[in-house]
Symmetry: none
Subunit: 237 residues, 2 copies
DNA sequence: AATCCCAACTTGTATATACAGGTTGGGATT
DNA sequence: AATCCCAACCTGTATATACAAGTTGGGATT
């Protein structure tokens, strides 16, 4: 296992941010403080912080410092917007309920994205979740990950109930890109029950394929949204 | 105007790549050659090349060099995917029918995005279009642009029937970002008629706000999709 | 009390240097 | 002629140092 000083600092700071040692809007210790505390040059500290900024964990401001930033980069991938209060990211409470998994199983024969041979050879880590906003079920999610070099994934608890936080913290895997196709469909009996809506009501459906910092590792999801009260936001740049 | 050595090298190399001095797959001069030729440290050269890689112009390979890369980084703001043939972008024929506009009018009082004072003061260029794939109506689009410093926009014909091509060619305005919120709704009588589907059928609706290379100029759209036969694709990076 | 200003912070740019480790073409060996 | 191997290249990591330039809080001035 290759080990570099800047990678170690990067990993330490990431985990501290995810664990809440530094919160949204906080300033990280200055580059000079970090370099003396961790016995490395400021150049090396800057290398770590540059990667942190690339990954969307901090925003650097000249003369000010490195500001912890959590919502940005994630906001593009999945965010909800209330009907009336589009702007105010107020006190919406988000809960996750894991219905099944993470568990190892075989790939379905008619999987929604074409899979590589290496992916087909590996087992499939399956995860079935229901996401709530203010106690209302909004999103039903089926996630599939090829079990390639992800030791003990199904045996350990998810970090902060989040798949992406787990991949980032335990395996140093960042989500780098996302490809999706979206449709509007009618709720069948199962969807209507999960998402607490009527049979035949319009449901937003998305197939997603996430690219990661680990070449050849992709995460697949099939998502169903009840958009009666919340729209799905996304931001490209 | 602030000027930095690494920015100058970055700009020089980018323009050389665009002009074809270095072609797809070529290797740039090595970091040592660049540093001695341009009288700067290898550290400074590396800073320029790092930005080049971030912008998708090159791919760096340890032990090899910096490989010129052109095709990457293009993001699809709007694409359709056939149901069965997800991959093959075959010979689907796309047509546009302009139902109304471009015409100057007032902003609606309950416009879907909050507008700045400058935008409200300007008139609104309005455009109402219907897009077909293989003669089937798939997308209904309402577009709104603040008429700020866009001379003769409503008087001249669109370039290639495309709004973005017109902005790029006639006004040097590039689309840089896109923010959207998406919902699934039921088709009302009007939508059902335009999109040739039944009353109450699920329709995908999106509000979009495009950012441009001209600061403070945004383009707004309200879009309705019939996703019965085609899904809406998008790619983030 | 309100204002101004600067010292002490912060990050940004740049130089000079060293060694580690991946890639490759050509000469020595087989 | 085919193989092997290494020297000479390449980028990656790391140290030590200097000055430029943005930000901010508190003391001196008004």
């Amino acid at each position: 296992m290759e080990t570099f000083k800047y990678k170690e600092l990067q990993h330490l700071l990431k985990s501290q941010i995810i664990k809440g040692v530094y919160k949204e809007g906080d300033l990280l210790p200055s580059e000079n403080v970090l370099s003396s505390e961790h016995d490395m040059t400021r150049t090396t500290v800057r290398q770590a912080l540059q990667k942190m900024e690339d990954d969307g964990y901090i925003i650097k401001r000249k003369g000010k410092g490195s500001i912890v930033n959590l919502k940005k980069k994630r906001l593009g991938l999945l965010s909800f917007k209330g009907f009336s209060e589009v702007i105010s990211h107020t006190d919406d409470k988000v809960n996750n309920q894991i219905l099944e998994g993470p568990v190892l199983q075989n790939w379905s024969y008619d999987f929604f994205y074409p899979l590589s041979e290496a992916e087909l050879e590996a087992d499939c880590i399956f995860l079935h979740r229901l996401r709530f906003i203010n106690q209302s079920p909004i999103m039903l999610e089926y996630t599939y990950i090829p079990n390639t070099d992800l030791p003990k994934f199904t045996e350990t608890k998810l970090v902060s109930d989040s798949l992406f936080a787990t991949l980032a913290l335990n395996y140093d895997i960042e989500i780098m890109s996302m490809d999706q196709e979206v449709r509007a469909i009618k709720a069948d009996a199962g969807l209507a029950a999960y998402l607490k809506t009527g049979l035949g009501e319009p449901i937003l459906h998305a197939y997603r394929k996430y690219g990661t910092s680990r070449k050849d590792l992709f995460v697949y999801s099939s998502l169903f949204f009840n958009t009666e009260s919340y729209a799905i936001g996304s931001y490209f740049q």
